[in-house]
Symmetry: C2
Subunit: 263 residues, 2 copies
DNA sequence: CTGAAAGCGCTTACAG
DNA sequence: CTGAAAGCGCTTACAG
């Protein structure tokens, strides 16, 4: 029987199935498609979410961030999707309260100020900032600077920048280092142009922590892991296994040759 | 009435609507998500397709190319989508006959060998290759070389490479230029490494046509226009306005400062 | 033009 | 356990 069904190429009608079963096996993924984002990182997220979703027999409906809260409401309200994954979430993101009001569960990639009731996954940027400083402290540095992301990133309320800075400051305080943080443009030239300012503010500076996409080989965001984790959390929510939760991935420190004792 | 409906936040159930009306207002978009593609160009296509689809009140279901023909069959067979847009189509792409057998119309971004019955949009790469040579001929060059994409691109059967080469050769013959074509690795170093070989084969070479992503600022593929055009063609097919057709966008030549008369 | 009814193709709860 | 029936929430063709 199963076999003849396959032979005949029978495939259930998705709409009828959704109507009767009350689920669609489709996830919404909201991606920022403006030009100023880090395109390869976004692409990694999208790829990993689609691939992970397929491994759970789900498909992905792709929405752009510029549809805003109305877009979320639209696809959720018309029961096109069973759950939503939202990227590029800002600190005071207006979409968060909207998501809270939907019948479908949501997982944010990013960490808003008040995520109560909504699941979040993100890199632990506070720990990342902390770890960078700690590493320099262990190399004997006593005076460190943060080459941060550009002012626009802080202004947009992108919470990861603030969290990284908080971790940086915490560690500087804890290890009793002199420190200064500086917002820099996301180009090699912009980052380089920051250095004189940093030296002026903190003449004895010997160590730099860079949280700036262009100052380095792109900061290695574990986009693949985060995307897969977001899908896994969605699936657990759909199974009713647990309620909303926040999961922050611990950073891994990669020793390269940029670190040494101060001269 | 309309107003109270909006007030109450009524949104028709997408599954029920699809079942009764026999269409979903969803398009499938198949994107190549392997690492060796030009990520920003893919992203441009995806963005423009999603944005254009929304302007026609349609959503986009994102599939990865590695689901292959089975993925197309799956979403079409279960009536999840009304039509399909397929990127990264190769010359002898096995997905083309599968698409031909589906109930839903499809538009390819790219041009396979035998597109009979399926709509295609692409840049006119033959005209692009031709135009490059013509431009050099008009500047007085008599001996030109093609810095082509790497051998892997030709081997994969990516039809645009062959079409560009054909246009290059046609123009060289027509303008009676000496010419040579060379496959080069898609890095600045790779392209540079080709030059001695080219000079060895054609000592008097004075003009270069580059069809190699890394040799130049990325060749300016009009991804935005192509994506929007693909959606427009899909909509016309869905309205039954016409049958399958191929549309090749004419290249636009941008005069920069890389061209001069031969010394 | 208006409105009640049939039917789209499934799933699921229920009778046997 | 099996199978017929009801029902999911819409659209559309049809009767009035």
């Amino acid at each position: 029987m199963e076999e003849s069904i396959a032979q005949l190429g029978y495939r259930p009608h998705a709409g009828a199935r959704a109507l009767a079963s009350r689920h669609t096996n489709v996830l919404a993924l909201v991606a920022p498609l403006r030009r100023d984002v880090n395109v390869p990182v976004i692409m990694k997220f999208v790829t990993s979410v689609v691939t992970a979703a397929r491994s759970y027999d789900h498909d992905v409906l792709l929405l752009t961030k510029d549809e805003g809260a109305a877009g979320l409401d639209r696809v959720a309200g018309s029961a096109m999707v069973d759950a939503l994954i939202v990227m590029d979430v800002e600190a005071g993101d207006v979409r968060v309260p909207v998501l809270r009001g939907l019948r479908q569960p949501a997982v944010l990639i990013g960490l808003p100020d008040r995520p109560a009731g909504i699941s979040c996954v993100d890199l632990d940027f506070a720990a990342t900032g902390y770890t960078g400083v700690q590493h320099l402290a262990e190399h004997g540095h006593r005076s460190v600077a943060l080459v941060g992301p550009p002012p626009a990133v802080y202004q947009r309320g992108t919470s990861y920048a603030a969290r990284f800075l908080a971790g940086f400051n915490d560690a500087a305080a804890h290890f009793r280092l002199a420190s200064v943080a500086h917002a820099c443009e996301p180009t090699f030239e912009g980052a380089a142009a920051c250095l004189p300012d940093i030296r002026a503010e903190l003449p004895g500076v010997t160590g730099l922590v860079a949280h700036n996409e262009a100052a380095l080989a792109p900061l290695d965001i574990p986009a693949q892991d985060l995307g897969a984790l977001a899908v896994e959390m969605v699936m657990h929510l759909l199974e009713g296994r647990h309620g909303a939760q926040t999961r922050l991935l611990a950073p891994t420190l990669t020793e390269r040759d940029s670190c040494a004792a101060p001269r």
